[in-house]
């Protein structure tokens, strides 16, 4: 982690996510991918900005929409692809799929398909960090929909009660599947609610990688100084359907919002700040890495049937 925003790295990670997701779309109907996928296209800036602000020892909790968080954390892309293919060299030897990625070498915890369920665990992990007097922080990514669940507020309450080192990253794309946030709560309340639960909370608009980076740096600093848990409500939008690779059925208004967002795609903004050569170099690298990952996945075997009953118990 440096306090300086590294545009090249940001562009590289952003592109790696975008291209991976696009590759998934391309391959999806071939039935090679054995797992439903929740794509992150449109929301990558958050994962990239946040991840660039982290140290190796920081801990990541994410969710079923976790590809961007996984890749931005520089977790093992080969294994991620093998997992999507249901293969034994996958992050969970094919037993988890896209919704349950993990990479322990990067402190990327197994993700859950049940909304909000990993949030109290993230808080528990932060509790353990404090208990053991470690300096790391926990990053807890979640959607705005996750804040509808009561356990979200139980988690925030406990985090604030114990001053735990945790940053909640609320990715507010306004939707839970097809439900707009307004149909689930009034007054756009996430920041005000979080504050009432004793959390330092701030909204970051603009869907800019660099702004998310800076905000995360600020949070980490605040945690160091006053050890209060933090929440960033990161405004963004999801350009694909909730799940799978079909096109979403959108209202005119939402269609326009997404068009606008696409016009301001931060990937282009980052690209514009780099030289042609740099861009070309990164593009090549990204393509190569994705090709490599797909080859890795293709070459891997499916797990043997005896694995069915393995790892139920320790």
């Amino acid at each position: 982690m440096k306090n300086q925003f590294d545009i090249k790295k940001a562009y590289y990670l952003f592109l790696l996510i975008r291209k991976s997701e696009e590759k998934i779309i391309e391959l999806y109907n071939s039935d090679k991918i054995k797992s439903p996928v929740h794509l992150s296209i449109g929301q990558e800036a958050i994962a990239v900005g946040v991840s660039l602000a982290l140290s190796k020892s920081d801990i990541i909790f994410s969710n079923y929409r976790g590809h961007a968080h996984f890749i931005a954390r520089e977790a093992n892309l080969d294994k991620m692809w093998a997992e999507l293919y249901g293969k034994s060299r996958g992050t969970a030897r094919g037993k988890g799929g896209s919704m349950h990625l993990n990479d322990i070498s990067k402190n990327f915890m197994p993700t859950s398909a049940i909304v909000t369920s990993a949030i109290p665990e993230a808080v528990g992990y932060a509790f353990a960090l404090k208990y053991k007097k470690k300096n790391s922080v926990v990053i807890c990514y979640h959607g705005e929909g996750a804040t509808d669940e009561g356990v979200f507020w139980e988690s925030l309450n406990f985090a604030s009660l114990h001053d735990l080192p945790i940053i909640f990253i609320c990715e507010n794309n306004r939707y839970a599947i097809y439900s707009h946030q307004n149909t689930r709560s009034i007054n756009d309340p996430i920041v005000s609610r979080a504050i009432s639960f004793g959390i330092d909370a701030e909204r970051i608009s603009g869907n800019s990688t660099e702004e998310f980076f800076k905000a995360t740096i600020r949070c980490k600093e605040k945690i160091k100084n006053n050890s209060k848990p933090q929440l960033l409500e990161c405004m963004t939008s999801r350009w694909q359907d909730h799940v799978g690779v079909t096109q979403p059925e959108l209202s005119k208004e939402e269609e326009n919002n997404i068009k606008k967002a696409i016009k301001h795609d931060d990937l282009k903004n980052l690209e514009n700040k780099l030289s042609k050569d740099e861009v070309l170099h990164i593009k090549k690298r990204v393509n190569k890495e994705i090709e490599h990952a797909i080859k890795f996945a293709e070459a891997s075997d499916f797990p043997r049937s005896s694995e069915l009953l393995e790892n139920v118990y320790y």
Binding site: K34, K87, I114, V115, R184, G244, S305, V312
Partner: protein, 349 residues
Amino acid sequence: MDKNLEKKVINYGEAIYEATYQEMQRDNNVFAYGLGADDPKGHYGTTKDLHLKFGKNRCFDTPLSEDGMTGVGIGAAMAGLRPIFIHQRMDFLLLCMNQIVNMASKMRYISSGEHCVPLVIRVAIGRSWGQGAQHSQALQSFFMHIPGLKVIAPTTPHDAKGGLIASIRDNNPVIYIEHRMLYKNAGYVPTNSFEIEIGKGRVLKDGNDITIVGVSHTVEDSLRASELLKSVGVNAEVIDPISLSPIDYEIIRNSVMKTKKLLVVDNGWTRCGFSSEIITDVAINCEKITCERLGFADCPCPTTPSLEKHFYPNPSSIAKLANRMCGGNIDWSPPEVVQHEILSFKGPF
């Protein structure tokens, strides 16, 4: 059954829709809610456009608050409404256990009959296509365990419709279990409104050699297994219990008295499951019956298809075990039967 009614071939999803629509039409107190109840896909069409037809106070979306929303349904039911609370997956009921078990199931008892909770909780069981550990559980035994709850799991479009109407009209909390792999199942269904009797099972196929009892989607697989068994001269009787609580113990006892062999194929884990309940009843009440059970493998459900196919019972694993129980060749390998509904399933996820 329903001899004089006009019938039409519709599928399971349409049957659920029809039941809901007709009941909402009949009784203003009936309303349907749940995550995505009014979304464009309308839960496999089962709630499609109900919000447009009946208004958004009678069919509405909710926040992601399964626990609270269960309580809201209970409270509304206590006030005389007849809510249908819809879940995309049975796994989410784990968030509602306190309300269902501590509140809904006991309300009548702790008020000695002053109150009742006519709440229907519709839950879909998922499987396959990578649904994995958290999106494929079938937890019927939890609800069967609790006095005060009724539990039904219809298999045919006929019973899906008659069962849902009966559940809506029932004054007790009813867990109505549907299986995603059944939505496309077609069959004759009376066009008018009708109820099946909750608590009665059905013999779907007569036979003398062995009794096979399935649950929800495994009834389908048991029927397929019975086809396989014909080729080895085994004539299986297949029973669809339809209602899991109360259970029609009689229909099963009567069948096993005849066949002397019982194979229960659960659509769920076996330990303390539906299958243990059925076998126990038979062990206590019938003499000299050979019993076996099949169900989910003793592990969470893996996503990869290479393992998932060993996780579930299937027509050929059912047939193989049934044949062995009937003294058949233990080396018999029944052919794999194509389960179209599973292969063709591509969502909506």
